[in-house]
């Protein structure tokens, strides 16, 4: 058993707070496997009815963009306002879109 890693892997937790909303990153936790990660996420992150659906991803599987390339990566889209939801008017009461 000595080859077994001691610490449980880290998982990123995403929660959908209600139908119609996308899953949102809420934090991380430790769990031995995916099933446990979902259970733990339920117990840790939805104690006050914060969610109806949970995603978990092992943190090592999250690939991120490099913040030092923030300029070339993201600034070219700054002037394309028509791509942004705020460019369009949505009547009140429609909710998140």
């Amino acid at each position: 058993m000595s080859e077994i890693k001691k610490e449980w892997p880290l998982w990123e937790v995403f929660i959908r707070s209600k139908q119609g909303l996308s899953h949102k990153h809420v934090g991380s936790l430790r769990a031995a496997d995916a099933k446990m990660a979902i259970e733990n996420a339920r117990d840790v992150y939805t104690r006050r009815s914060e969610g109806i659906s949970i995603w978990v991803v092992e943190s090592v599987n999250v690939h991120a963009s490099n913040p030092t390339e923030q300029g070339p990566m993201f600034e070219p889209s700054d002037d394309k306002v028509y791509r942004h939801p705020t460019f369009y008017e949505v009547p009140e009461g429609v909710g998140h879109m």
Partner: protein, 323 residues
């Protein structure tokens, strides 16, 4: 040539530091993978892990009374509250992990005595009224600090604080309700409440840390917006808010120098026993050893459980692969 490269690197770092500070000054949050000065990273890890440890060690004095809570309503409220502290510890360890501070190592630092936690939790909970006093005073003091930290410069820390503040809102009320019920109860109950206030008042004031004059790191932490107010400012806010609450409850704050200062617009208060403060931090509080021992025991006795779950997970993985 070599010197030139070294100089170039130094210039680059200086430039990055300036950009970093400019971001902070503009109240732009720093996110995990952003460049940050090494000292900022270290200070943050230290502060967040201390905070996390405080939540988790802080469970112990209160958990102490779960089995003895005087009514079922109080029992479930206390249980939920102590559980919240575990959750808050977890959110904060999770924020530490965004900076690569592995939880297990962070916790080992607590157990070895290398890392600190709030010294308030080294005081004992002797009576039921202490549960009220902790909620009212200790959580009250913590909230003053945490509300300010919702605007801290590091994104994951700030977000954790927002969540924590939202959840903590019932904690102080829970404590204050316990205290006021006692204060309006039988003479024995009232005496219990006053006794708890007498014991917890000064340690609560110490929670804000040394005076500004004796707090050498404050200036840098303020510049980095890891801290948003000085220790003395936060302490004063807490005192000003609490005096009235004690009056309403009909309890006496154990400080004969406490009085309203019209000119300052604040309450003046007596001298804090800093010798006691530094001794409790050093490990000489009544419960330091007991608290760390309880946490270490939980970790050691949980070791085989964590190993079993890991072993099972590995077996399942290899089964899937084989299939």
């Amino acid at each position: 040539m070599f010197n030139f490269v070294a100089m170039q690197v130094e210039n680059d770092v200086k430039q990055m530091e300036e950009q970093f500070q400019a971001k902070i000054d503009a109240d732009i949050r720093i996110e995990p993978r952003d460049w940050m000065p090494e000292k900022y990273r270290k200070t943050l890890i230290r502060q967040m892990s201390q905070h996390a440890h405080s939540e988790v060690v802080g469970m112990l004095p209160e958990a102490n009374w779960i089995t003895r809570a005087p009514s079922l309503r109080r029992k479930v409220a206390l249980l939920a509250k102590v559980q919240d502290e575990a959750g808050h510890g977890l959110y904060l360890y999770s924020a530490c992990e965004t900076l690569g501070a592995d939880r297990e190592e962070t916790i080992d630092d607590l157990h070895s005595g290398k890392a600190k936690y709030s010294s308030i939790f080294n005081y004992p909970t002797i009576t039921w009224a202490d549960i009220g006093a902790i909620g009212w005073l200790v959580d009250g003091a913590a909230i003053v600090n945490q509300v300010a930290l919702q605007k801290t410069s590091y994104g994951p820390y700030a977000r954790a604080m927002v969540k924590i503040c939202k959840e903590e809102s019932f904690h102080q009320r829970q404590g204050y309700e316990i205290i006021t019920v006692l204060a309006n109860g039988t003479p024995a109950q009232k005496a219990m409440a006053q006794d708890a206030l007498n014991r917890w008042w000064w340690p609560s004031l110490m929670m804000f840390g040394p005076t500004d004059a004796d707090s050498p790191n404050t200036q840098q932490s303020m510049a980095w917006r890891i801290k948003r107010h000085t220790n003395d400012e936060l302490r004063q806010m807490f005192i000003d808010a609490t005096v009235k609450q004690a009056e309403v409850a009909g309890l006496t704050i154990p400080d004969k120098d406490l009085k309203w200062n019209e000119e300052r617009g604040h309450y003046d208060f007596g001298e804090i026993d800093w010798e006691e403060f530094y001794n409790v931090i050093k490990g000489n509080g009544p419960c330091n050893k007991q608290r760390i021992e309880a946490r270490r025991k939980a970790k050691e006795e949980g070791m085989w459980v964590r190993e079993a779950a890991m072993a099972y997970a590995e077996k399942q993985k290899s089964k899937v692969k084989a299939a």
